[in-house]
Symmetry: C4
Subunit: 400 residues, 4 copies
């Protein structure tokens, strides 16, 4: 049974790591435990922030012209570093388990099409375009702002924010519609009330909309305010509506958050999914779909993960750390890249082993219902899981 | 049993569809899968938005007079299109299952009384009134704003927003009362403090209310601010109260949302209910009441809907898609308009069949408790469900 | 068993109702089904609102002096009506079940000490004071604002708002402390940065606090803004802190609401509690404590309330409507003022009867845990419930 | 069994309390029931608030110079009182159970390193520094603001606020990133649109950021507003984004609160943990870790705490009050410092005793899962619990 339980598709043995592998790990996995990775990340984040600061500072009349050479130099250095980063990412991406099976150039092309890589490209492209084909630098300079978006790579919580907004997009669109209706009502109303008294600011509905928007969003610049009694009364009503309008998106987003938050540590980085060999053979689009189904849970050393007799509600992939499975003949250890808990899902049984975390570890969890959806959309993946499971079962039975 | 399970009130066979039926489907069901429907909807939504933009632009002094003819032409075209839309809706509404049983003109009259149709009418009526009986166009032009409300048809989430506000109306009214009390307190207080210093803005309580409202809602125009130390101290206190006042409606609405959100996909369009033949025989008011009880759930192809032995907590109506019921002799397919799961509710038993989604499908769900309420208020409907259920049972028993 | 089940302390038989009883019902119970009550309430609410409007309008320079006589007359009429209302409330309060046992004048004194009655008194007292002992009317006029608080009687949701704020008072106090710390930080910081540049507005910390408060609460009048670069940078930081500060009370109150909302229809009016004869014999303070434990649930006609075999988690008091208890020998009806469900709590058994709502009805629910708390604090009340329960049991057994 | 159940590590018998012990109790435990403690706390809180008020008032041009001597005197008195408080805290801290085992000066040094004590020191240090080594008082005076932070000791809810923010720090950081991106977008956009029209306020991106921040946070001073049509349209868009940006932190914090709130009375003061003798032998850092695992529950007199047969989900430490354990031979009383409920956790059994609150009492609860974590990280602590449990068991068995 020990043999059966250890996944036959285990990651490459921890022998000497190639330079390309090392660079890939540093740039893509972002492990917090590796000092070199931490250093590289810190340098890149700092450089991004400095670039944005320089972009803003350059527009200041008393700074921009004076230190023009300095800014140019800094830009040159930044482009150089970002270019090296971009090339290294492309070069090392063939180490990614998901792309390993493909021909290097095809893999790199696929990798270069990812949103984050496209941002990386736009961040450096203007420089080369200006240099090579002599396009006017002034227009392209704005594209430097894309460098800020490179930060997205370093905040996995952004993914969660995006997911909440995507989930609630219909309700948010409804709230926007309510706001537009209010805006139309407020600006038309004020236009009819004050167009003769203050023709310069309420002389048309689009003009009045400036006041209406500032009031409904409670920004309230005060550069335009009603002066008649009727206008003030109407304005007061609009303020109160504004309060309610405020409440809609906040209520929607707060609700979305509390639903996401029930899936604690819901942010799965690409690196975590890529570490699971089972997914390495899949199309990138399929992995993306699975990634959306997974969520992650952390366990401290010694914490029980499942117990005999528990309901089977999920299967687990080990993203990092080690777990111990108690079998009749003792313990079997499973490590990074292995999976367990699939038997109970496949055969709709209760848990038949105790599993405990040996080290602190992070597991990717696939819910029962999501597993059943996969059964229909990815029959190959599931049949592979089934084969491994049956091999484990046989190994176990043979032994006994 | 297959015969028993297929609903005897199945929709008209998928033979050649009449033009009227086709127009009705395009205008009322809004299926996202039909390209013609999508095109028609896109055109209508664009036209509505353009109308609102034109309404606003016409008031601009440097645009309105100059392009008057263009605006008039655009209005003419819009009214023509909206009129055609209105007439087609009225003409084809006799295809609606709920109205099919009634005489055409009675059905159309009933249909014309619906809120959305009344909005459609108000959106075009002013033009004809101005044309026919020579009423002054200036006043009627404001009614064009009603065209914006035609958008309501295209955002089902608005219904959910409305329901949340309706559910929480008592708490919101309480919050409004708190706000009025604070407003009274703030404006009276500031009136007594600063009426002698700034008589022109704090000279009366209604004047002071303008400041108080702008402060309590955190709009803060700044056109009126206290100048004395006591006034500023009092103003600071009011600002802090304003924060709390803000929190009340947001807290109320956020709570309402999170309760609605537990009923995922709670928005039921009229078209979805109308597709269920069982409801076709009911009074429109009763259908409205049932519509408020239903909520909808989506299932992907292959997903299990119920399993043998599950608790029976709801019955299901198929709004779109196909499901498979596993019986002793094989599978029975149920499609759009059929219902299932009623046996376990009627006889308070556990589920006796596995039911699985064959295609992606959308089901209308009627909770057990709501079903029991229906038993009391609509005995005929339930006795019909019972008859169908018993016919199914007998068919099943005969076969075996 | 029918005898046993009907509560021996049933309310007075529906014979001819005395005038005092009728007035009491109209003024205190506020039934929505009685047209006279509805009329009286509408008149009183309108009068309150008109009084507040008159109070504000009187301060307007072009309105107050001109219509002084009209305002005086209106005030006279209002005081007359409010005085009649106050006297009638006091006179009829002896009909209140809770006070019925006491001597009339003692009961009235107790009743007059209630907060709502004190507000009623303050609303009319200034007039008589000014009239009788010649106090300067100007100062007392402000007390007319108390008339607005008379509205509290008509919005039961206010009670819920108050409860949420009371429950979360510690967290809200913590948020206030955070805000004060931020205020101190912001105003001290800006004082040090801009005191030399704008001495007239940032010349002292209290002056700077005016700006800091307007910024932290996002009111942002704009009458005072920093002008130096450092000041603007610091101001921007304070704005972002302001956003976070905003989030604290909203988050706290939203959470409090969603917890209260799980107790649907949590607002219990005094009248609803007073209708339960069991509570009529208790001290008012005890009733208040019980009132805080109860919550109310509405059932539609025909809805099941409990079923045989259910867990016993609460006992019920009928506030309005009628329920049917199914016993071995048929149905027993219970009406307003009766209670049921106590057996299963007293003897920790499962439900032994089916109980169904006969008419739409409203029940007061007492949770199991609250019941057990009552057992300790109000042993007499519980021993009474026990006596009734045992009488019912015996009656049932005798019959069989 | 009674002997077995009473904890052998019970607190010192309630004999005469030493002065040092009394001072320690007054200053550190903050019992609400002791009038002297309440008085001392009231004086200290008032003094802190007066100090902050004096600090602000001193900067007012018409107050500061005039009452300089008064302010100096008040400062002198305050420093004297705070110094006495500080010295007394240090002197009496050796009474703290956790520090009792150590040598007095080592204990005091450890105690002085705590954050609250460091604040206490900073609050008085500037005075002595200025006095002793003649540093310029002007700079050090700012440090007086630290006196405000002394209030932190008196609001345990602050701890909960801090915990929510710490838990949600990743999501809040993501929200900050979104805000920075929006800020960059808004200020760059407005810079390009209006830099030529209003060069003095939109002449550089940092200048435009002042407007962008005031708009995105809805502060809206109005000192800078766009004037061109394009600028106003862009500004309106930014206002709407501002609404959404507002919603993010509020949604995040509201969610965090509602999760914390499920752990009712989650704030554990140091004094409550220190009262449990079991923890007295542990390292302060370990106690801090345990403190983070505990939460507190209040029970009223007579309320059941656990019942025979319940699932064992936690063990309990008595922080104040008394409970009764029903054993075969009668009741055993447990008081402050005792613990119970550990047997069922150690041996994974169901509850075997009824435990009821005798007085109102406050228990510290340690969840089953946290208990199991402790088993791994603090084996000594758990083996001690096990020893006590086994002693109790043996005592019980011997008796029978």
């Amino acid at each position: 049974m020990p043999n059966g339980l250890s996944n036959e598709m285990s990651p490459s043995p921890p022998g000497p790591v190639s330079l390309r592998q090392r660079i890939h790990d540093i740039l893509e996995y972002g492990s917090e435990h590796d000092p070199v990775t931490r250093l590289v990340n810190t340098i890149l984040v700092t450089l991004i922030l400095l670039n944005v600061a320089a972009f803003a500072a350059e527009t200041m009349p008393d700074v921009g012209p004076r230190y023009r050479n300095l800014f140019e130099l800094f830009n040159l250095v930044s482009v150089a570093i970002f270019s090296v980063e971009y090339v290294l990412r492309l070069w090392s991406c063939t180490e990614m388990p998901l792309l390993r099976a493909q021909r290097p150039w095809r893999a790199r092309l696929k990798f270069a099409m990812r949103p984050l890589l496209i941002i990386d490209l736009i961040a450096i492209l203007p420089f080369y375009l200006g240099f090579l084909i002599g396009v006017d630098l002034r227009v392209l300079r704005v594209l430097r702002l894309f460098r800020f978006l490179k930060l997205a790579r370093y905040s996995p919580a952004l993914v969660a924010l995006g997911r909440v907004i995507a989930n609630e997009r219909r309700a948010l669109f409804g709230a926007l519609l309510v706001m537009l209706a209010l805006l139309l009502f407020a600006s038309s109303g004020m236009y009819f009330i004050e167009r003769n008294v203050q023709p310069e600011v309420f002389g048309s509905i689009p003009s009045a909309a400036w006041w209406a928007l500032a009031t409904l969003t409670t920004v309230g610049y005060g550069d335009v305010t009603p002066v008649t009694s009727l206008g003030k009364a109407f304005g007061g009503l609009i303020m109160i509506f504004g309060l309610g309008m405020f409440a809609l998106p906040i209520g929607i987003i707060a609700t979305g958050f509390s639903q996401e938050a029930n899936r604690r540590e819901f942010v799965i980085t690409w690196g975590m999914v890529a570490r699971v060999p089972l997914f390495a053979q899949l199309e990138a689009t399929v992995v993306a779909r699975i990634g959306a189904m997974l969520y992650s849970r952390s366990y401290v050393a010694g914490e029980p993960i499942m117990r005999i007799g528990d309901d089977a509600d999920a299967m687990f992939f080990i993203s990092s750390g080690e777990v111990a499975v108690e079998t009749g003949e003792g313990q079997v250890r499973l490590g990074e890249g292995d999976f367990f808990g699939e038997m109970a899902l496949l055969y709709r049984r209760r848990r038949e082993h105790n599993v405990t975390a040996v080290t602190n570890c992070r597991l990717l969890v696939l819910d029962k219902l999501d597993f059943e959806r996969l059964c229909h959309s990815e029959p190959e993946l599931v049949s592979h899981v089934r084969r491994v499971a049956e091999a484990r079962l046989k190994a176990g039975k043979t032994k006994r």
